[in-house]
């Protein structure tokens, strides 16, 4: 099949049985690849009400038709599972070089099921697929394990590895790759850990069949030329995602002290320019990337090298904890990466704990003696370790802020910054209604990358609640995740502003199938509705209440910064949902109607 590895690899960890099946053409037609494959296989193959930490749950690792080919940013890999953090759909995207090797090994997806009786790693070298003993690697950090495989097997092997966080069942453990790339969100690393899989290592030498080689070459070159010619290339390469740090501070979107404000008085210490001057050594890109947003940094203060920090980590581990030192953020970043826990959820959990401490809800007796005041760098480092090892007070935070706040109570639920159980990523949304709606309705919980609508708020009026804003959020939700479906990176479109129509000839030349963005957005809508049905299937009583944001954004206006005194009205939160459900073709409780499912070709699948 043109553009595809051609096979799906099933690995039953309980029995050790390894099988392959041809990639189903109808799934390619309807879901294309990557995140689409993940959503389909999750819905179809994981039984209803499966325990996320039980053998019936699966970890689905998927490439897309762009993966491994010369298309800008074609190094994205999707990890889908039933989330141990939220109990719903989880999908995390990871950059690097891993997905290219999956394709070169003749595969499109790797599906891990069951639970291994002992620690193993999955070894793939073209058609040689084996489960190998990993007892001597269990308990080790991600960096030393990746280095071990590179030395033992060779540089050409690509490695996806979990750390102690995944082994110990931290609900938001991540999967690491390339010494600094993560599938970060929703606990995909937790599922890998409970399955006792320390790593997946893959190398391939096969060719990827392409329908029209000359057309592919031309379309690929046109995409690279557009990137090279983009005016913003130099600046985005220099700063990466940290370009937005100062801007977020200015507009009141920088999470500060557990999202109690959107501007930070110590913000300058974290800005992209500060970071570039103080710690950045060089730039780092993923497979086929013309605009490397990754930054290799060195902190003299902590005597470390780390990839990062990027904006999300700076927001959650810096300003959100009242920390104004970029070197301290770099150290926190390295600890989380090596221990294999998501920096976004971890920063959010520690921010919640610090607020509990400052309000007297928690004392030193609860925190194992840690003085959890905002700005306490050393306590932050210690707490990261405790979370990853589920040790003492860390075990509570390892549950995520929704469950932790439920256990602690005393009003702390109100400042647990999450939606559907997933901690909010690094945009404060006190007065940005489109961005707030994007978080509320995101398919995995409070994550930004599906629909990043905050500049639209600024362009049309931050507090406006109008159908156009809702339509914009929906359009972004249908469109942006398609990059994760294709196995590419959205940042060339997002940051460099290249014409998205340039991707269509490339897709046609590679697969032999003509698809316009209108067609692709319909696939995006199909996946969005399928995962919504998954949430409903797995969670009794699922509905509108699950889409509610933290009360912080409609009850407590910041007292400082750019959004001082600004808040979203409670009635506007519901008005946003009313309009959203109507435009999506969902019921007033947020469930896709039969007509919507029929229109998207999902009626049979979800029946």
């Amino acid at each position: 099949m043109n553009g595809y590895g051609g096979q799906i690899l099933h690995v039953n960890l309980t029995t050790g049985k390894i099988t392959k099946e041809p990639t189903p053409p109808d799934v390619v037609r309807d879901f294309i690849g990557g995140r689409g494959f993940g959503a389909y296989f999750l819905f179809k193959e994981v039984p209803t009400n499966a325990d996320p930490l039980g053998p019936a749950n699966k970890l689905i690792i998927s490439s897309g038709p762009f993966s491994g080919l010369m298309i800008p940013g074609a190094g994205k890999c999707d990890f889908t599972t039933k989330s141990p953090l939220t109990g719903g759909y989880a999908s995390a995207s990871m950059g690097g070089h891993f997905t290219a090797e999956i394709k070169y090994a003749g595969l499109d997806s790797i599906i891990l099921e069951g639970i291994s009786p002992r620690p193993v790693y999955l070894f793939i070298d073209d058609d040689k697929v084996e489960l190998r003993d990993a007892a001597d690697l269990w308990g080790k950090g991600t960096i030393v394990v990746e280095k071990h495989f590179k030395e033992k097997l060779g540089e050409e092997f690509q490695v996806a590895v979990i750390g102690p966080g995944g082994e110990n069942g931290v609900s938001y453990a991540c999967i690491n790759h390339d010494f600094g790339r993560q599938a970060g969100r929703g606990g995909v690393g937790t599922v890998m850990g409970v399955k006792k899989v320390k790593a997946v290592v893959v190398h391939g030498t096969k060719s990827i069949p392409v329908a029209d080689m000359e057309g592919y070459r031309k379309a690929g070159m046109a995409l690279y030329k557009a990137c090279k010619d983009a005016e913003g290339l130099k600046d985005w390469t220099r700063y990466g995602t940290t370009i937005v740090t100062s801007w977020c501070d200015e507009v009141g979107a920088l999470p500060t002290r557990n999202f109690s404000a959107g501007s930070f008085e110590g913000g300058k210490g974290l800005y992209g320019q500060t970071m570039r001057e103080k710690i950045v050594i060089t730039d780092k890109g993923c497979f086929g990337c013309p605009s490397p947003c990754g930054k290799y940094s060195r902190s003299k203060k902590y005597n470390i090298h780390v990839e990062g920090p990027e904006y999300e980590t700076i927001g959650l581990m810096g300003s959100n904890l009242g920390i104004d030192d970029i070197e301290a953020v770099a150290q926190a970043n390295l600890l989380c990466d090596d221990l294999g826990i998501d920096t976004i959820s971890t920063g959010n959990a520690i921010g919640w704990a610090m607020e509990c401490y400052e309000k007297g809800i928690l004392t030193k007796k609860d925190t194992d003696g840690l003085e959890l005041k905002f700005g306490n760098v050393e306590a932050t480092f210690k707490l990261i370790e405790k979370i990853a090892r589920r040790e003492g007070f860390g075990a509570l935070l390892a549950e995520g802020v929704k469950r932790a706040s439920k256990k602690i109570g005393k009003g702390s639920e109100k400042f647990a910054i999450q939606v559907k159980g997933m901690e909010q990523s690094a945009y404060a949304t006190h007065n940005a209604t489109a961005m707030l709606l994007a978080y509320m309705t995101c398919d995995v919980g409070a994550h930004h990358n599906r629909s990043w609508a905050i500049t639209y708020d600024l362009q049309v009026g931050r507090d406006k609640v109008v159908p156009e804003k809702v339509a914009r959020v929906i359009w972004l939700q249908n469109f942006r995740p398609m990059f994760d479906v294709l196995g590419g990176c959205r940042l060339q479109w997002v940051e460099l502003g290249i014409d998205r129509d340039l991707y269509c000839p490339a897709l046609e030349a590679i697969t032999g199938v003509q698809r316009s963005w209108e067609d692709l957005e319909k696939v995006g809508a199909r996946i969005w509705n399928l995962t919504r049905m998954y949430w409903g299937r797995e969670n009794e009583g699922f509905g509108r209440q699950w889409d509610m944001p933290s009360p912080r954004f409609y009850e407590e206006a910041p007292t400082t910064g750019a959004t001082k005194g600004q808040i979203t009205k409670f009635e506007d939160v519901h008005k946003l949902l009313d309009m959203y459900y109507e435009q999506r073709g969902w019921t007033s409780e947020g469930i896709p109607t039969a007509a919507t499912l029929e229109q998207l070709g999902l009626a049979e699948l979800v029946a």
Binding site: A230, E231, G232, D235, Y239, T241, I243, V244, S246, W247, E250, V251, Q273, Y311, E312, H448, N449, W452, A453, I454, T455, L458, Q459, W493, V494, E495, L496, G497
Partner: protein
Amino acid sequence: MKKKNRITTKATLRPSGALKSYISGKTEITVEAGHTVRETLSALNIPPEVVALVVVNPRTTGVNEEQQSKDYVIQEGDVVRVLAVIGGG
């Protein structure tokens, strides 16, 4: 090349990407020196808050570039690049 008059009160603003739509798709526009970047953007109906990065390349100092705040007062001969975050993170 025609010799340019170096005594001027003019400067150049270069908006990147989507910001060009605010100046009819042009890649640069001549602006008056002596005003802040924020004032200059507002005068062109570019919402200052959508601009994430201001980089000033003063002609007098050659190739050195410096990131500036929107409160920077544009000097004569400056080339000011402004970058938006329309697409997002």
